[in-house]
Symmetry: C2
DNA sequence: GGTAGTAGCCTAGCTCTCCTAGGCAAACGA
DNA sequence: TCGTTTGCCTAGGAGAGCTAGGCTACTACC
């Protein structure tokens, strides 16, 4: 019998693509096996279980996003960097809804520590350098920034903005203006 | 055979409680049937299908949250109202993680229109009245506000803030300060 | 170049979930 | 009192997750 040539990497990539098409919750071991023309039981040679598969998608997405954000950030500073970061983030989420959703799953601490999540933190802190914020304001600002980006993208995806005619692109641009203004003038305690 | 006295309302309430315990994704028709000492097939007399059950949880949660926010908002204005709204929102999400997660599912337009989502929009707009923002800034501000709240709560839940020692409560308080400052001084176009 | 080991697939089969079809009995309204 | 409706049942199929155990093709090493 000819071998299908399945590896954990090819499996994860196909699973991520499938997630973008049909949603992470519909990424099943069985569907993935069908895609490779293989029986579902065979995949358990490469992955631990269905949850492990989704974690692998999340780690792939984190790494991919970190790469794209890193590229977008190159040579930029201040508001320019903030906007580039935000747009790279939102673009990725738009192009890869399934991967983005997978990124939200709760990783256990050691997995999270080994992930590209660290690179994300570093890049976020790098942007804040343009705004001269000392700790703990810096951490608070990072958290707020991340919350706003994630919240916007997340609500946009689930249709939370659908009931108002205003184009979301415009609201996004203005949100970035507002965030820049806020970071430039972070309130005193 | 004695009747268990199952109704769609009791079913939804039990499902919501179950969601808070084990997560929405683990709310199964079978588990719910066990809770009522009834066969799973019997529940299809009260609900359409498993998705319908989750939608009911979402609608319940939206209504409950609208009530709590409405109470918290009574007699308040300005920053006071903003903070009350935000805390009611975050408290609900903390006390009811499963219900909160269910609220994020994508409702079809007519269901969404009939939900308590409308009350949420109205209350949010009411808060903004204290900040004198004209359209389209108002819509942008509402979207940003909602994004920040939802993003923060969502990241807090999935452990996105775990890698930094700073207490999330402190970041939350400062985020609200920042949001108030921003709304008081919304940038010109 | 033969052979041992392992990597990569298989079948069989269990459990669980979702859901439909069809039946029966309790509660209720006329 | 007697339908009619309501609320539950059993039976069962389809699909998902996963395990156990077996067979085969490739690889490495003597």
């Amino acid at each position: 019998m000819a071998r299908a040539g399945v590896t954990a990497e090819r499996l994860t990539l196909a699973a991520a693509d499938l997630a973008d098409e049909v949603g992470v919750e519909n990424v099943t071991v069985a569907a993935l096996a069908r895609h490779f023309g293989v029986k579902d039981a065979s995949l358990y040679f490469h992955i631990k279980n269905a949850h492990d598969l989704r974690v692998r998608i999340a780690l792939l997405a984190l790494a991919e996003l970190a790469d794209e954000v890193s590229d977008a950030l190159a040579g930029r500073a201040g508001k320019d960097a903030l906007v580039a970061f935000a747009n790279a983030y939102r673009d990725y989420a738009t192009r890869h809804p399934g991967r983005y959703a997978a990124m939200q799953i709760d990783l256990d601490p050691e997995t999270a520590a080994a992930s590209a999540g660290i690179r994300h933190s570093e890049m976020t802190r790098a942007i804040l350098r343009g705004y001269q914020l000392a700790e703990p304001d810096q951490t608070d600002a990072i958290r707020m920034m991340h919350s706003t980006f994630h919240g916007f993208v997340s609500l946009e995806r689930t249709g939370g903005f659908r009931h108002t005619p205003r184009p979301t692109d415009d609201s996004w641009a203005r949100t970035l203006d507002a965030l820049d203004a806020l970071l430039s003038n972070w309130p005193q305690r």
